[in-house]
């Protein structure tokens, strides 16, 4: 993957053609969409897949004996198989469809961690987690009297692995860390963390919300126990996401929500739960969303994650070099291994003002704490401005970002 050459400009132009939204204008200027860490745009094939389902195949899944229900079920399960293949899980039984990363983590916190946690136990996370990989553990710990341990990051935004290893102890029941920091862009050495945790017999959940669209994810190579991601951050629809879990762990967990489709038999005395993964999919699922996600993964595979990573690395290197040339701009997050995210502050200008002025130049970025308030406190700042790249962004768009940042400086230096 490291050896892949960045793609030619003509190839990027072809990729961009697949995304109708990238032709939008804001304030009469061409849209420069650099908020991909918040959500990604959708290729036509994803929009068409959702639309075609509703136009031709819509029915409930796993229920009807009629033809449509069978078609809907087949497509829904085909999407599950696409997810399995994309992350190289052993079995489609290990792929649970949820609303998104947040629901996936809550599921594990309540269904796996909470029943096992006791006083004197702990859950270990890192200081650069998104709120969705903090609060569910905080809640499970509060419910059980366990401790939430936080592994520190250094000034560059990297985990201190020696310190991390020391924090895994006899009472550690779970390690939950991000694969790629949404606020800093740091790539976390998750394979090593999994090794360290497994040496103590501790399972690991990886928050893949950011990583999934930028890094190749192979859950068997990583040997992680749980992997969570959202469809909308990898060019799929909102409201659909995935929890991968090793079958043995999922089998031993009680359902998270209960109701229809997750049962095998119900009497008023006793209910027997359905098999994996249906045990965790109570109620009618987001069928069209799953099918849309399947189409998104097909799309990403057709381009290839290696080509995507090569282009994004090239873009981030270029943007970093350009940003370093702007006096008063400070990059927050300077880890040696980074992907897709340029987070920064500017002397004398609040991120929110940067965001508004950039918006008027057609440049969409995120300004604020990025749902990582403890991390912002760690760096002694209220927030940052964050440009986050996707494979459909271009060098010209980085130039537009830098030109807009120069405008910000001019306005505030009057």
């Amino acid at each position: 993957m490291e050896l892949e050459m960045p793609p030619a400009a003509s190839e990027i132009a072809r990729w961009r053609d697949d995304f109708p939204l990238l032709r939008e204008k804001v304030y009469g200027k061409p849209l420069v969409y650099l908020d991909n860490a918040a959500t990604t745009q959708k290729p036509q094939s994803v929009i068409d897949a959702e639309s075609a389902f509703y136009a031709h195949d819509n029915a409930n899944v796993h229920r009807g004996v009629h033809a449509l229900s069978q078609r809907a079920t087949d497509e829904y399960e085909a999407a599950r198989e696409k997810v399995r293949r994309f992350i190289n899980a052993e079995s489609a039984r290990e792929i649970v469809f949820v609303r998104g990363t947040t629901e996936a983590i809550n599921l594990v916190a309540q269904s796996y961690a909470r029943p096992r946690l006791q006083e004197d136990d702990n859950v270990l996370i890192s200081a650069m987690e998104h709120h969705s990989n903090i609060v569910p553990w905080q809640m499970a710990c509060a419910q059980s009297g366990a401790e939430l341990r936080v592994a520190p990051v250094n000034d560059a935004g990297e985990l201190d692995l020696d310190l991390f290893a020391k924090l895994i102890g006899r009472g550690t029941r779970l390690v939950a860390v991000t694969h790629l920091s949404n606020a800093l862009g740091s790539i976390v050495p998750v394979a090593r963390i999994v090794d360290m945790a497994h040496a103590h017999g501790v399972p690991v959940l990886l928050d893949g919300a950011q990583a999934i669209a930028h890094l190749g994810v192979d859950v068997r190579a990583l040997d992680c126990d749980f992997y969570a991601f959202s469809g909308h951050k990898i060019f799929g629809p909102t409201g659909i996401g995935v929890l991968y879990g090793k079958a043995a762990l999922l089998d031993a967990m009680p359902p998270y929500q209960v109701g229809g489709d997750m049962i095998s038999s119900v009497t008023f005395g006793k209910t027997e739960y359905n098999e994996l993964p249906y045990k965790f999919e109570a109620g009618t699922p987001n069928i069209a969303g799953a099918i849309g996600l399947g189409a998104a993964l097909d799309y990403v595979s057709s381009i290839g994650i290696a080509a995507i990573a090569a282009h994004e690395r090239d873009l981030l290197d270029y943007a970093t070099r350009m940003a370093q040339g702007i006096a008063g701009l400070k990059i927050i997050g300077t880890a040696r291994h980074k992907a897709s995210i340029l987070s920064f502050t500017m002397d004398g200008v609040h991120p929110h003002d940067i965001g508004t002025i950039l918006d008027h130049e057609g440049v969409a970025i995120r300004a604020g704490h990025h749902c990582a308030m403890p991390l912002m406190q760690r760096f002694g700042i209220a927030g940052t401005a964050r440009a986050s790249f996707s494979f459909y962004n271009t060098h010209a768009e980085v130039d537009a970002l830098m030109a807009a940042l120069t405008k910000v400086k001019e306005m505030f230096q009057r």
Partner: protein, 148 residues
């Protein structure tokens, strides 16, 4: 189309770079903390109220140009005002930054430079943070602190 210059007027930059009444107030008998969840900005508003008149008012905190300038201008406007006048200013200010078709009340004076905010819905909360914190300081009994 909304114009950036309507939002970022010269007066806004002046108050952002050198905010007025930007300090804690030892004599304060009403204090409240405000927090904008969207961006993480925090503000503390201090009031010294005697006989239903705002004798002194100040603020501290960290915020964007809009929220800092708004707080600075607010403290200037409130000094010496009766509480009912302060409430009237709040209502008028809130109306000005949230309704396009409302002519700003002349009583707003310098606060009118923030009228451009109404063209920027994402920034209305920045402009109103200090004012909502003021409301909390005045209304919340628990926020009243002793000067002893």
């Amino acid at each position: 189309m909304n114009d950036l210059r309507d939002l970022y007027q010269e007066v806004i930059f002046d108050h952002y770079k050198k905010p007025h009444n930007f300090h804690a107030l030892a004599e304060a008998n009403h204090i409240a903390h405000g927090h904008n969840r969207l961006c993480g900005d925090r503000i503390t508003v201090y009031l010294q109220v005697e006989d239903d008149v705002i004798r002194d008012v100040s603020f501290e905190g960290e915020g964007c140009a809009i929220s800092t300038a708004s707080a600075s201008l607010m403290t200037d406007a409130l000094k010496g005002k009766r509480l009912d006048e302060a409430q009237h200013l709040f209502d008028e200010f809130h109306g000005m930054v949230t309704h396009e078709d409302v002519e700003p009340d002349p009583a707003l004076g310098k606060l009118e430079v923030l009228a451009g905010v109404r063209e920027f819905p994402a920034r209305v909360k920045c402009a109103t943070l200090a004012w909502h914190t003021l409301q909390a300081a005045l209304k919340d009994r628990a926020a009243i602190v002793s000067t002893e």
